[in-house]
Subunit: 330 residues, 4 copies
């Protein structure tokens, strides 16, 4: 109407589930169940399937026993079966496609691919929904089950953060092939050190941050959501009292404006908890926000606090480099 | 891929602004500025333009002097100029189109239409963004300006709630012509008493509730958002202490799960404040939730409290019927 | 120095424990343990001893099996053994003394007495402290044990509220004999309908409210404390989801300014939960606040909300009169 | 009754007011009024008197223009005129007494003295109460005036923290002469590095921490109270957005369990804000808690977060030593 305007792609809807690797699966599962109130839905071979009480689907997290911690894979759900077909075509054309995986537990056919940095991902449409036993159904009809009485229970999977040897390359790959939108980024002398991208009104379902040693395929963190800032204090309180490592206490991010905190589960994977998810991007013509790296400490990492520790920028799983890590689950 | 699946429409992005009518414009504006920390951007004739500090656009609220309170109009922003063209075609075909309005302050051409119940609406693409004076810019780059020091400042416009003589007719009209999706509804013996519809991940940008006397075109409330539940207590505290009428104190809705409260601004329009917006609908195949009216009091209206007062179901603006209203700005 | 000033009595320090009666002790205990995270310390005969995780003493609550719900007794701890001797002398002289009880579990000799309305009370000095097993000790040294992972755990006993046929008579008896101070009161045409009295900086360890039918010796509620307003929402959420009756959802009292909520445990005793305890009285010459009953609804009961339901003013345990009670643990 | 027990002294009730020195009084006052919602009550010569909206007395803070920031004096109010006489006798006998000051604004005769470290203090009984103009009175009768609409308004003065060349000497002086009780302390190889002492149920009205260079008479911080943890985020948000220095963002202390944050007002004095005051000490036989310094970082300073910065341990006013201070009101 007024100028040439390329219409956005609306083919990917959300993050559907994340698989994390653990060399201490029992302790890892205990962290998610005893502290964060998640529920084990199924145990199949070396894989345990878990869900938060307001997750819609059968599960949102897979813990897979492995030699070292890290990312297994992440699954994105499309907005329709037709959208899935379109995205698979684009992925096939990208040269990064792997092919269809048809025998996974809890969902239908998923097309697998890797990011340029090598993280394993998949897109899918068909998913199994959580079928709540009658006695555990809530009168709050949008809630998948009654609120658990264990720990400080998280409500749903929120997002994933990956480390990459080249964040811009990965972000652009997902923007072009899956329709992600760039929301915020950190640049240093023109080089992209971090990118926050989303397919929804959230600021991000995926963040990609620079891995400082150039190591590929690493996980920065997976994040679950509470919706209420105070619950971060409750969660921090029990994590501290019960011997888990809190890397960053409750705080407010500049980037995303989310109320956040970071802890490490026992195998070393970083877990973020969101009090609230920050601002929503409802403006359809939202222009990406660019932070100069020099302005990030004390504004972008934390809006109201001391700058984040070096480990936040350096540590990911698997731990492949001599990182100055203060302590993990000391 | 698996079954015949009609792809959703992604043409409308968000609520852009709301115009409310007031027979006490000075007092109404004082309520929004002194209590809710909003800023007057411009005064043109009998219209005052206001914004919240995290609103992106030049304004989100117009207060227009009128003989009685009520809704002026609501504007929806599309996801692209092409999307606007498509929606205008649909609206023209619907028989409810009015035509283009091209001389409004703060935005480009808007296509106007009415709902079956007679509420004036418009769709538009071009909007003026807020241009923050340099000295008031925040280092928090996603924030349109520094957080105000006045009152308990709201962050952004959230949604609108209208009363209708036939909620289903209005909801269906917007679902068919603008691509809204039905999220939650209240039914009584098959008749729809209320519908919560959205174009985004929010549970609603628009709710439509039954006007019990069959009166048409009424406003139930306009809602602004804080993001933090506790701020509702702060807002309630100053509203109470400074003599404004609180209809419903801070509470958690069952429908939408939002932390909410309701007050009346001095001309009588109901204003809702959101602590947090409740759950987000990220599932692209989300099935609408249906509440039987008998289950709503004590579960759907309020999840954790006493049932809502009759005024919540009966009172809207303009006040056309002999409503048992306890007090307005007593 | 300036005028004749009678020095205050500092002989009673705090509420030490409360005994409640229950005709459904298993369900009552389940309420306090599963929902409120309290711990059963001991079971002796028909009595179960429980504590909250920041209670200092061996227990703060006794649940005693009985034919109907109500108050067993309440114990006050003095500020010294000498203070106990002084208070016993005063009680003996009052004519309401009963005598020493020397065989109770968890504390030393207690001198028992009744209020004019017949509530059983005792004063004591020697108490058993909670001896935390080493593995459950917290690094937070002022915390008696690690924060529990069950339910939304309360931190400590806060206060007691009794119904009386004559609140002023009971309040004055305790002011004169134990050194309580009158903090706030409700009067109607000169008659005292409620009195909030304390021996500490809290606004009350004890409130006494009018029993409308003249019934004697009834319990209005016992209250536990969280310290954080948000925890009331978490508590309300699990109580609602798990089928308990919430009489009044989270709110802010005018009287005391506390963030409060009220639920009924399964045998029918009302339980209050405090988000925060409101204002502290540090002023040594604090003048009692007097509310006219006509100003209480909407200001004194609740500062920011709808007036409290009739049950708040009428219902107590045991339920001796035909009270219009909506539902108890429906 | 059971053993020889020395009865406690109940002669001092609370902290009445604090005088801070400022070399930028206009900016200092702007900080307390614009950001923290305090009110200027009077300006006399180089002194400005301010109060928070739930302070009972005419003022709780005096800002005095001076060459450098620091403590002017602190005033303690006794529990009665007789108690004042007793404390004055003890102070006279201590050798640290100065004498009666009878011409101060807003209160009656005050007996002045210094701590061993040289901090100026006074004890008094007679005080002027705040006389609220009728139009600003609140229907919430325990609130001295309506809640202000400016900034994020603090409710009342909470406590003072001083630096000393010998914390134990100062603490013992106040324990012996004024009846303070030791609540928590930090020791290192038997030497007391910090002491938290109180006369009320609060964990402290006064903390005394080691000045690392042996400098005498310094101020660590003065603290105001909100009562609600979330308000710390609101306060931090406006302080950050409006250019003030936040030394430590909202956090939970181990010592005292208070929700705290620290900022510097423009002349450099540290100001603490309390979300809630932590646990109350109601136990009359409470045994002081002793922290080994090695256990303090990460447990005692902050219960749930990163250890406090060096400036917390080193920086006080006046700034007399070459302290590695990151920034003050940068």
């Amino acid at each position: 109407m007024t100028k040439l305007h390329i219409e956005p792609i609306f083919d990917v809807a959300q993050i559907a589930h994340v698989e994390v690797l653990s060399d201490k699966p029992k302790e890892t599962i205990k962290f998610f169940t005893d502290m964060l109130g998640m529920q084990v839905i199924e145990q199949l071979g070396n894989q345990t399937y878990l869900r938060a009480y307001e997750d819609n689907y059968k599960y949102s997290l897979i813990v897979t026993e492995a030699d070292e911690p890290g990312l297994g894979h992440v699954a994105w759900r499309t907005t329709s079966p037709q959208a899935l077909e379109r995205r698979v075509k684009a992925l096939e054309a990208s040269g990064n496609g792997i092919g269809w995986s048809t025998d996974q537990h809890g969902h239908g056919p998923a097309y697998q691919f890797t990011t340029p940095d090598g993280h394993l991902m998949e897109v899918l449409w068909e998913v199994d929904y959580f079928d709540c036993p009658v006695e555990n159904r809530s009168k709050l009809l949008s809630r998948s089950q009654k609120r658990p009485l264990q720990g400080v229970p998280v409500r749903r999977l929120d997002h994933l953060n990956l480390m990459s040897s080249n964040p811009a390359a990965d972000a652009n790959f997902l923007i072009e092939n899956l329709g992600f939108k760039l929301r915020e980024q950190i640049v240093d002398d023109g080089y992209v050190l971090g990118a926050w991208i989303s397919v929804s009104n959230l600021v991000h379902e995926l963040a990609i941050m620079q891995e400082p040693t150039g190591q590929k395929g690493k996980l920065h963190h997976v994040c679950y959501w509470y919706g209420v800032p105070q619950n971060l204090y409750d969660a921090a309180d029990i994590l501290k009292d019960h011997g888990y490592f809190i890397e960053i206490p409750p705080n407010k991010h500049g980037i995303s404006q989310a109320f956040c905190m970071y802890a490490y589960e026992p195998s070393g994977n970083r877990v973020e908890l969101f009090g609230d998810a920050g601002y929503l991007i409802l403006d359809p013509d939202f222009q990406p926000i660019t932070w100069e790296m020099k302005d990030v400490p004390g504004n972008g990492d934390t809006w109201i606090g001391a700058v984040f520790p070096d480990s936040f920028w350096n540590y990911g799983t698997p731990v492949t480099a001599p990182v100055a890590l203060k302590a993990v689950a000391e």
